[in-house]
C-alpha cells in the first residue's frame, strides 16, 4: 500500500551542482592564498600605508663635499655649502619633482649631521654644470643607476627647541661627521664625511 503523500517533495540540489559549488569554493580559496590578489589583500591588511612607510628604492651616498663659498653655485653662503652625490641603486626610479615646478619637492630631501638638523634641500632640478641639482637626463626622474647631486646652501645644523634652547654645529673641513640623508618616499642613506687628511 502506498504511503499517503505528505505534500510536495523537498527541493534539493543535485550532486552535480554540489560538486560544482565545492569546486568553485576550492578554486576561490586557492586563488586567495596564492594569487597576487591574495597577497594584495594580505598586505593591505597588514599595514595600510606601507607604500609610504617602506622605502621605494635604495640610495647610496657616493660622496659628501664641502665646496668653498665661491664654488657654491646658486648658494649665498658665507662659508661652505654641502654637496652630496647620491646614486639610485634600484629597484625603482624616483620622481624628484612630482609637481613639475622645476624644484626638488619640498620636504623630500632632509639632511641630518651628527644628529643635528641641517634642513631641507630645495633647489633647482636641472641638467648641466653647474646646476644646484643635476640629473643625468634632466627629466626630473632619478632612474635606477643614475646619480643626482643634492646641494644644501647652509653649512650649519642645529638642535632647536622652539624659540630657544638651541645647540648648533657647523660643518667645515676639520671634523668627521655622520651624515644621514632622507629622500622621497621613505628612502634613506648614510655615510661619514671625512675631512681632507682623514680628520
Amino acid at each position: 500500500m502506498r504511503r499517503p503523500c505528505c505534500g510536495r517533495p523537498r527541493p534539493a540540489i543535485s550532486r552535480l551542482v554540489a560538486e560544482v559549488i565545492i569546486l568553485v569554493i576550492v578554486i576561490a580559496l586557492a586563488l586567495l592564498l596564492i594569487s597576487p590578489l591574495g597577497s594584495f589583500i594580505v598586505s593591505s591588511l597588514l599595514v595600510r600605508g606601507t607604500e609610504a612607510g617602506t622605502p621605494k628604492t635604495n640610495l647610496e651616498i657616493l660622496s659628501v663635499a664641502l665646496p668653498a663659498a665661491g664654488d657654491c653655485y646658486e648658494c649665498d653662503t658665507g662659508g661652505y655649502c654641502i654637496e652630496i652625490a647620491i646614486k639610485n641603486e634600484g629597484p625603482n626610479e624616483l620622481d624628484l619633482d612630482v609637481d613639475d615646478d622645476g624644484y626638488l619637492d619640498w620636504g623630500a630631501w632632509i639632511l641630518v649631521a651628527d644628529d643635528y638638523y641641517c634642513g631641507e634641500a630645495y633647489t633647482r632640478v636641472s641638467l648641466g654644470a653647474p646646476p644646484a641639482v643635476e640629473d643625468e637626463n634632466g627629466d626630473g626622474i632619478l632612474s635606477v643607476g643614475e646619480v643626482v647631486y643634492i646641494r644644501q646652501c647652509d653649512n650649519y645644523c642645529s638642535i632647536r627647541y622652539g624659540w630657544g634652547h638651541t645647540s648648533r654645529i657647523t660643518l667645515d673641513r676639520t671634523e668627521r661627521r655622520l651624515i644621514k640623508l632622507f629622500g622621497p618616499q621613505g628612502t634613506f642613506a648614510s655615510t661619514f664625511y671625512v675631512p681632507p687628511g682623514g680628520g
Partner: protein
C-alpha cells in the same frame, strides 16, 4: 563522485573555515582588520634624528626631527598648534612623548602666540635675492604630508634622565600616529 565523498569534502571545507575564523591566525586577521578600520594612523611618521637642545636643573629639552611621509594628513589643519599641545591655558594635548618612561610634553609658553611653541613646522621655502633660501614655517595643528617637524618636548629632570646616556623616545599623536627614536649620547 559519490554522495559520501561530497559530504566529506563539505565537512572538510567547513572545518577549515572554522579554523581560520577561530584559530590564532583568524584572530590575527581580525586584529588587522580592526586596526585598519579603527585607529590606524592616516600618515606614517619617519623619525630622522634628534638630540638634547638644553638641560636645566628642572628640565631636559629634547628635540626629534620627523616628517609625515603619507599617505594623509595627521591632525586637524583647522586648529592652531596652541590648541593641540599644552600651554598655560590649554590642559589637553593631542601629542605626547615619553623618554625613558618619563612623560614629556610639547609646550607653548604663550597661548596667544603660536610662534612661541616647542614645535617648529617647516612647510616650504622660496628663493630670495641672490638665491638665498627663505624657510617658511606654519603654526597649524596638523602635520601635512612631507611636512617636517622639529618636535621639541621638555621632560622633568628625573633620575631616569639624569643618569642615562641612552634615551628611548616614544611619540604619540592623534589618530594613532606614533614614532620612536633611540637617542644615544656620545661618551
Amino acid at each position: 563522485m559519490s554522495r559520501v565523498a561530497v559530504e566529506i569534502v563539505v565537512v572538510v571545507l567547513l572545518v577549515a573555515i572554522l579554523l581560520i575564523a577561530f584559530s590564532p591566525m583568524g584572530s590575527f586577521v581580525m586584529d588587522q582588520v580592526r586596526r585598519v578600520s579603527a585607529a590606524w594612523s592616516p600618515g606614517y611618521i619617519q623619525v630622522m634624528g634628534g638630540g638634547i637642545a638644553d638641560r636645566s636643573a628642572s628640565y631636559v629639552y629634547f628635540v626629534v626631527y620627523m616628517r609625515n611621509i603619507g599617505p594623509a594628513v595627521i591632525g586637524d589643519p583647522s586648529k592652531e598648534i596652541t590648541e593641540v599641545i599644552l600651554s598655560p591655558t590649554n590642559s589637553e594635548t593631542e601629542w605626547l612623548a615619553y623618554v625613558n618612561g618619563v612623560r614629556c610634553t610639547p609646550y607653548c609658553s604663550n597661548p596667544d602666540d603660536p610662534n612661541r611653541c616647542s614645535v617648529r613646522q617647516h612647510i616650504g621655502a622660496s628663493m630670495g635675492l641672490n638665491s638665498t633660501l627663505i624657510h617658511e614655517l606654519e603654526t597649524n595643528g596638523a602635520m601635512e604630508v612631507y611636512e617636517v617637524w622639529e618636535f621639541g618636548v621638555r621632560c622633568e629632570n628625573t633620575d631616569a634622565l639624569v643618569s642615562a646616556d641612552r634615551y628611548k623616545i616614544q611619540i604619540y599623536g592623534p589618530s594613532g600616529a606614533r614614532a620612536y627614536y633611540l637617542l644615544e649620547e656620545e661618551g
